[in-house]
């Protein structure tokens, strides 16, 4: 079996692509960084990959609402390919803007057949873009493939629209993969531990299969020990917390 192949999509305004590519390389995958136009114009095929990643950024400027325009573009122009990708047992990861895109395309919490939405990611309660590090805990009830074996994480967020809002009954216990917590792991902690006012402190959501995952925090920004904001106090660890998410992803894909 050959190496796992990861496709990192970029679109106008994508800006976390390079470090996301680096993270997947560190996790042992081959990575292609491909402009969305190349997929739409059929110069690249989704079929050739096991992992699809929508990285962070401000696609199309986050004009109208964060991720909205790319979400429509993916759904209308690549929706069938993406559905087949998921049905083939492959993996989709959306980080920050990528999560906003997955939510607004109707790919989370489950693939929406008619494009109606149950979930959105909207303006932070503070009304501000904020960049800060947050404590996270993994929901053990979740089927999420990406967070297997992980208990707690410390990662940065950087967004203005990260508040998860859901229509009632839209989420099951399985769908919630990640919670914001305080430093002791309390999942009812409030701002700034919950940086955006997300309902139920939800930081990341996956579908029933556990193979489509979106999260607001940036695991690709904590791969090396010196990315930790207090490494000069605490010493630099060999790897950052974020790396395990990418390793989990690649490990799973190896068995496809």
């Amino acid at each position: 079996m050959g190496k796992v192949r990861t496709l990192v999509i970029r679109a106008p305004g994508t800006n976390c692509d390079a470090e996301t590519v680096f993270a997947f390389q560190q996790a042992g995958s081959e990575v292609s960084l491909v402009h969305v136009n190349q997929l739409i114009r059929r110069r690249e095929r989704l079929d050739d990959y096991q992992i699809l990643v929508i990285p962070g950024g401000f696609t199309y400027g986050d004009d109208i609402a964060a991720g909205k325009v790319l979400a429509n573009e993916l759904r209308l122009k690549l929706g069938e390919d993406i559905l087949r990708f998921v049905e083939d047992g492959k993996l989709i990861l959306g980080i920050c803007n990528g999560f906003q895109v997955l939510a607004k395309a109707g790919f989370l919490p489950e693939f929406s057949e008619d494009g109606s939405l149950l979930l959105t990611v909207t303006t932070n309660d503070s009304g501000r873009f904020e960049c800060r590090w947050v404590h996270l805990s993994v929901n053990r009830e979740s089927t999420c493939v990406f967070t297997r074996g992980i208990d707690r994480l410390y990662l940065p967020v950087a967004h203005a629209e990260g508040k998860v809002v859901v229509l009632s009954g839209a989420l099951t216990e399985q769908n919630v993969a990640l919670f914001y917590t305080d430093e002791h792991g309390d999942i009812s902690a409030r701002y700034p531990h919950n940086p955006n006012g997300s309902v139920g402190n939800v930081a990341g959501i996956c579908d029933r299969s556990g193979r489509v995952f979106g999260l607001m925090p940036h695991p690709e920004r904590y791969i090396r020990g010196t990315q930790h904001p207090q490494w000069t106090r605490l010493g630099a660890r060999e790897y950052g917390d974020g790396l395990q998410i990418f390793r989990n992803t690649v490990d799973w894909a190896e068995h496809l």
Binding site: G13, F58, P156, T226, T232
Partner: protein
């Protein structure tokens, strides 16, 4: 025309509205309990209802959180009930919201192609009792900036029509004018007498009058902004003549130092130095002052956009990896009645500039990791906005290139509109009360995503070597970019080939437009097809607008009509050198006459909570400082991630251990006493920060940014000369070459017959190469029991200090530097950090030892005790407060574990230092005075609160 309203469902909190409620309360109006914001979209279309529904449901409104209405306005209960108010705000004609282009694309994605145009607006519903005056205050101070916006009545809205342009050649009559007529033409284009004479002579020899576009070209090329004529001028000071200020100071230092790692200095859009033998660093900082004064958000945003294009347009183009931004504003608490008419309140300028810088930088995905914000009432009408970008490129692309005759002139990126027509001459003129109403065409709203697209695709074209040369389109637009690039060759440009945003632009407007997000390439004809294709693959326009020639002439055409024909020699060398007189008279200030306060704890709290010293976390958190994943030392450090770091460190290549340190030095108060020592001090400060975080002086490059008043005045000119001389003196001793720089002059404002000039302001920005980022040191105290050292000599130097300023004094004892000793000290300290002997280090700057030790303690969450009697003094100082708050340069507070004391002192041998205290397990900062008495005994929580509160907005 169709109108759509989108609003949040009523049970959800409106974060934008809540922010406005707070802002309204800041205006002293307490009756507004709620504000809700409705987004309005005007479509120039005749869509059927089901298509309109599709656009709303799938695109404009979020079905989970929002509701829409395209039949009528929301006849909201809030609006209709008595005492509530609705204000609708739209952009002025000619101002386009970048969102509109995105909406057009997204509507086409939905399969609807019949929408011709989209305009956006906002409606504010204010709940609460307001009289008309109060509503007017809210509109004018918060909701509407008349430069770009106006209040509309729903029925008034119309799509502006763009007239068609019909060509007619305009000549400007300058030959055979009488004095009055000549003077009026001269002033219209902003030439001085000598310049205008040279122009008349040139055209007399041509036996014709110039065309308007020729005059515009000369006005741009000879403007202060483009050619820096003051810095290249001939200055007489004390009978001595300095020919070309820049060459005889800053550039001279770089030449004398002749560092082999300098790749490109003072010849391109940014400076370039070698990083690791394979990669090069490219660095530039510049100002965007005048536009930010008039429209803070748009002005500052385009400041970021502009400076990012500098490294992109250096060599063959560098990838931006870090932004650094420094602002100077009037005090945020300035009473409204003290703010000159025609000027926005400092708080609004601050908020707008911050938002503009953050929105543009965040969207480009460039981390903003370092900066500073200073306040002084003299910045009220002339805020300073310094934007800087560090970029990375392969070494072999670093040097400036030359195009060949026959290469094509290609403009890429954004389209050209009427934006910023005359922006350059605007930047070089003083602002007046009328500026706000007459200068609207100088303001643009940038579109960062267009620039991001340009960056992404340009670097691919670079790596395929598809173009031979590149420059940015900045101030002066195509006129400057093409004119400068073609100086050695000559060029023919067909102005009707330039892609336009809308019809109606004259050939002259096309030529001088300063529309953002454009770059200029010289492309060999054989590569043009591949180049256009690669840009097209990512939806970036690339248009051939002319070709470079070998005749050294600038020839412009519009629809086959020649409209300009100038010799490059005259355009670039025909300007008579500027002559200026300088006269230096040192000012004298009162020395303070207050007694040493009994409780220096209170004094410390005052200094910590001053605008200049207090925490800037509110600003920093709204920048993305983590994007690109390269940060090693972030702007906020310490136990709770909220202490003030010195310099920032990034790891530009994620797989390498090498780093770049970025630091800034700025202090306008010293300049009030002596600009020479101000320049010395800010260079020292920038270098101190590099040393404090674990760097060294082996490979440090500097940038200068001078923001000054009116240098036509001999005293201003003399101040400038002194600062420039200091730059030379320091650079050669520290062996840190300047690699690029910028200046912004004439920063003064006329108000009620009085001239308000900004303080002399020099920003020195430094980058240092770090061999191993794992040696980085942060400023927070770390271990109970660590020894606290002061490194460096303390003198009675409180002139221009924060402490004196808090007491209403300037004083005269400005901090000085002995550069030879300072360099030795910095070299020693950098060896100590490289050996891992230093657990924390913070440089002493504003607020001296007092502020430095307090910041270290609360950042680390560890108390400390220090003894002022142990501080090594360079002269007798008998006051505790003076020792605690002296701002003497070249000093550091350093902590060392007791078991490493011997090693540390050995490495530091030959430099002045002393143990002045210890980190302890308490939660208090204690300071003992010269008499052995306790002069400060303040809980860390109280210190931190004082420091954090002022800007916790």
């Amino acid at each position: 025309m169709q109108r759509i309203e989108v609003r949040l469902k009523s049970h959800l909190p409106d974060a934008r509205g809540l922010g406005l409620v707070k802002d309204i309360r800041d205006l002293g109006i307490t009756t507004v309990s709620m504000v809700r914001v409705i987004d309005i979209y005007w479509l120039d279309s005749e869509l059927a209802d089901d298509d309109l529904d599709l656009v709303c449901r799938r695109l404009l409104a979020d079905p989970v959180t929002q509701e829409y209405n395209h039949q009528s306005a929301f006849s909201s209960e809030v609006e209709l009930s008595a005492g509530n108010h609705s204000v609708e705000v739209a952009f002025n004609a000619g101002v386009s919201d970048p969102v509109e282009d995105t909406i057009m694309k997204a509507i086409r994605d939905l399969g609807i192609s019949s929408v011709r145009e989209v305009r956006t607006a906002k409606r504010y519903l204010l709940e609460g009792q307001l009289d008309e005056d109060q509503l007017e205050v809210i509109c004018s101070r918060l909701l509407v900036n008349p430069i770009i916006q106006h209040v509309v009545k729903t029925e008034q809205f119309s799509f502006p029509e763009n007239p068609q342009y019909r060509f007619a050649l305009n000549r400007v009559s300058i030959l055979g004018l009488d004095n009055d007529q000549a003077s009026s033409v001269r002033q219209q284009y902003g030439f001085d007498d000598d310049e205008f004479k040279a122009i008349i002579e040139y055209f007399r020899a041509q036996e014709r009058d110039p065309t308007d576009v020729e005059m515009e070209t000369l006005a741009q090329a000879w403007s202060e902004h483009c050619v820096h004529k003051t810095f290249k001028g001939k200055v007489t000071l004390d009978g001595a003549v300095i020919n070309n200020l820049l060459r005889s100071t800053i550039v001279r230092a770089t030449k004398e130092l002749d560092k082999p790692w300098c790749i490109s200095v003072f010849e391109d859009n940014a400076g370039v130095i070698d990083f690791d033998g394979n990669w090069a660093l490219c660095f530039k900082v510049e100002t965007h002052n005048h536009p930010s004064a008039v429209e803070p958000y748009g002005g500052a945003a385009t400041g970021v956009g502009g400076v990012v294009r500098d490294p992109l347009g250096t060599g063959l183009g560098a990838k931006p990896i870090l932004n650094t931004d420094v602002f100077c504003f009037g005090p945020p608490d300035m009473p409204y009645e003290k703010v000159p008419r025609g000027v926005l309140h400092p708080r609004r300028i601050f908020k707008g500039v911050r938002a503009g810088v953050a929105d543009y930088g965040n969207r480009l995905g460039i981390p903003t990791l370092n900066g500073a914000i200073l306040f002084d009432r003299r910045y009220v009408a002339n805020p300073l906005v310094f934007c800087g970008t560090l970029a990375l490129m392969p070494n072999e692309y670093g040097r400036i290139r030359r195009q060949n005759p026959g290469d094509l002139v290609v403009v890429i990126g954004g389209r050209t509109g009427r934006d910023g027509v005359h922006g350059v001459t605007f930047a070089s003129e003083q602002l007046t009360e009328q500026s706000s109403s007459v200068s609207y065409s100088s303001v643009q709203i940038g579109n960062p995503i267009v620039e991001k697209k340009v960056i992404d695709v340009l670097l691919q074209a670079r790596d395929r070597q598809l173009y031979r040369r590149i420059t940015d389109c900045g101030g002066g637009g195509l006129s400057s970019a093409v004119g400068e690039m073609a100086a050695e060759t000559g060029v023919r440009v067909y102005l009707d080939k330039v892609p336009l945003k809308y019809s109606g632009l004259s050939y002259s407007e096309i030529w001088v437009s300063e529309s953002q997000e454009r770059m200029l390439l010289a492309v060999p004809p054989e590569n043009i097809e591949e180049l256009v294709n690669i840009f097209g693959s990512e939806d970036v326009e690339a248009a051939v607008i002319g070709e470079f020639t070998g005749d050294r002439r600038l020839k412009l055409f519009y629809q086959d009509n020649p409209v300009a024909d100038l010799s490059m020699e005259f355009l670039h060398e025909g300007r008579p050198q500027l002559q200026r007189q300088a006269l230096w008279q040192p000012p004298q200030y009162d020395e303070p006459d207050f007694d040493t306060p009994a409780d220096l704890g209170e004094a410390l709290l005052d200094v910590l909570s001053s605008w200049n010293v207090c925490s800037k976390e509110w600003v920093i958190r709204q920048y993305d400082h983590e994007v690109q994943g390269a940060s090693v030392l972030k702007p906020l450090v310490g136990k709770d991630n909220d202490g003030p770091g010195d310099a920032a460190i990034i790891r530009p290549l994620l797989g390498s251990e090498m780093g770049v340190i970025v630091a800034n030095g700025i202090n306008h108060k010293y300049g009030d006493i002596d600009p020479y020592w101000m320049a010395v001090s800010v260079i020292d400060e920038a270098l101190r920060q590099i040393i404090a975080v674990g760097g060294n002086l082996d490979r440090v490059a500097l940038l200068d940014n001078f923001s000054w008043g009116n240098t036509d005045r001999p005293d201003m000119m003399a101040a400038l000369v002194r600062a420039l001389q200091a730059c030379y003196d320091m650079a050669v001793v520290y062996q840190t070459p300047f690699i690029s720089g910028k200046d912004s002059l004439y920063n003064e404002f006329e108000f009620e017959g009085e001239i308000i000039s900004i303080p002399h302001t020099l920003l020195v920005s430094a980058i240092g190469v770090m061999a191993d980022v794992n040696r980085a040191v942060s400023m927070d105290l770390k271990n109970d029991g660590d020894l606290i050292y002061i490194v460096g000599t303390t003198l009675n130097e409180l002139g221009g200090s924060e402490y004196f300023s808090a007491h209403g004094f300037t004083g005269n004892g400005v901090p000085r530097v002995d550069p030879q000793r300072a360099r030795r000290l910095m070299v020693n300290l950098s060896r100590a950090t490289a050996e891992g002997l230093v657990s924390a280090c913070h440089d002493c700057s504003e607020g001296g030892i007092g502020v430095a030790v307090a910041e270290m303690a609360f950042a680390g969450g560890l108390g400390a005790t220090i003894n002022l009697g142990a501080v090594p003094l360079g002269e007798p100082v008998d006051r505790d407060d003076f020792i605690l708050f002296s701002e003497s340069n070249s000093r550091f507070l350093v902590t060392v574990m007791p078991e490493r004391q011997g090693e540390f002192e050995e490495i530091m041998a030959g430099s002045v230092l002393a143990v002045i205290g210890r980190v302890d397990g308490s939660e208090v900062l204690t300071v003992y005075g010269l008499g052995g008495n306790r002069v400060v005994n303040t809980p860390l929580a109280e210190l931190k609160k004082a420091w954090q509160e002022p800007l916790r907005w």
